[in-house]
Amino acid sequence: MKKRLGIISFFVIIFIAFILIWNFSYQKGLEEVYVPAIETPAGNIIPSESGVFRRFNSGIDYSNMPVDENHQRTLKDYYENRAYPGAPPSIPHPVANERSLGGNTCIQCHQNGGFVEKFNAYAPVTPHPEMVNCRQCHVTKNTNNTFKDFAFAKAQPPKVGTGVNNAMPGSPPMIPHQLQMRESCISCHAGPSAPKEIRVTHPERINCRQCHLPKTNEQPQINAGTFIRQFNSTYEE
């Protein structure tokens, strides 16, 4: 008799527990989700320092990389397909698929560089491989003429050379160009595709921006408490 009572009360308790839990879960389900509007961080426009560290994990030994004198580019080549210093370069080679955004097709060669027999040159390495819509900014060159007469006037690129960009003699040269979209220093300043005038003597030191500061005069009111890059925060490797 007692046993029966025990079993029945056990089931009653389970049943009550079920009702309570079910109700609780139902009430929770009715709660609406409030998505707070994202507060735009104010004034953080220092390009993120982490871009500097990219490409060093891939095990590439920059300091021992041989320099291929016969196939290296010069700064003149570098600026050849840029409308002004800092402009996205045009694509100097034919591209197969017009309908593609770029993405994997471009990254195959331009993420790590390497010698390309067909063009007898080293593929330049992109400092921003995470941007997959390549052809939004990089376009091909399909003709040499202009629509109407154009007064070509190229802006002066930053000077390069010993002592040109130094705050004081012998101090580490300052960065004379804008850092936006070009945060991975090593992509252009080391490796076989680097323009020879800017190839650095000590690529293995990794943390370039520890000594080399941007020589820019951007807005002084910077919230220097946090070095947050607004565009994306997940590509911090």
């Binding site: 030994d61 300091s63 003699p169 012998g170 000590h202 293995e204 030191r205 990794i206």
Partner: protein, 78 residues
């Protein structure tokens, strides 16, 4: 990769000679002072052995009175 900086003091009157001699050594960077008889010298060699060799070569220069070490550091390879 040892990098060392020195002040090189030439024997009196032989600053030009010392400067030319040092400049001819290609792992050296020389900046002469304009109003004193002293030269700032920075040596940059790929390893310890070369550094020793270079130091010997410098000390062999006749116009050098003495070499005083200011600072030096050695960056290890990646």
């Amino acid at each position: 990769m040892p990098i060392k900086s020195y002040l090189a003091h030439p024997i009196k009157g032989r600053k030009e000679e010392l400067m030319i001699a040092l400049r001819s050594l290609d792992q050296c960077e020389v900046v002469p002072a304009e109003n004193q008889d002293v030269l700032a010298l920075v040596t940059d060699t790929p390893d310890e052995k070369e550094e020793e060799n270079l130091k010997e070569k410098i000390e062999a220069i006749s116009s050098l009175k003495f070499l005083s070490l200011v600072s030096g550091f050695n960056t290890p390879h990646n």
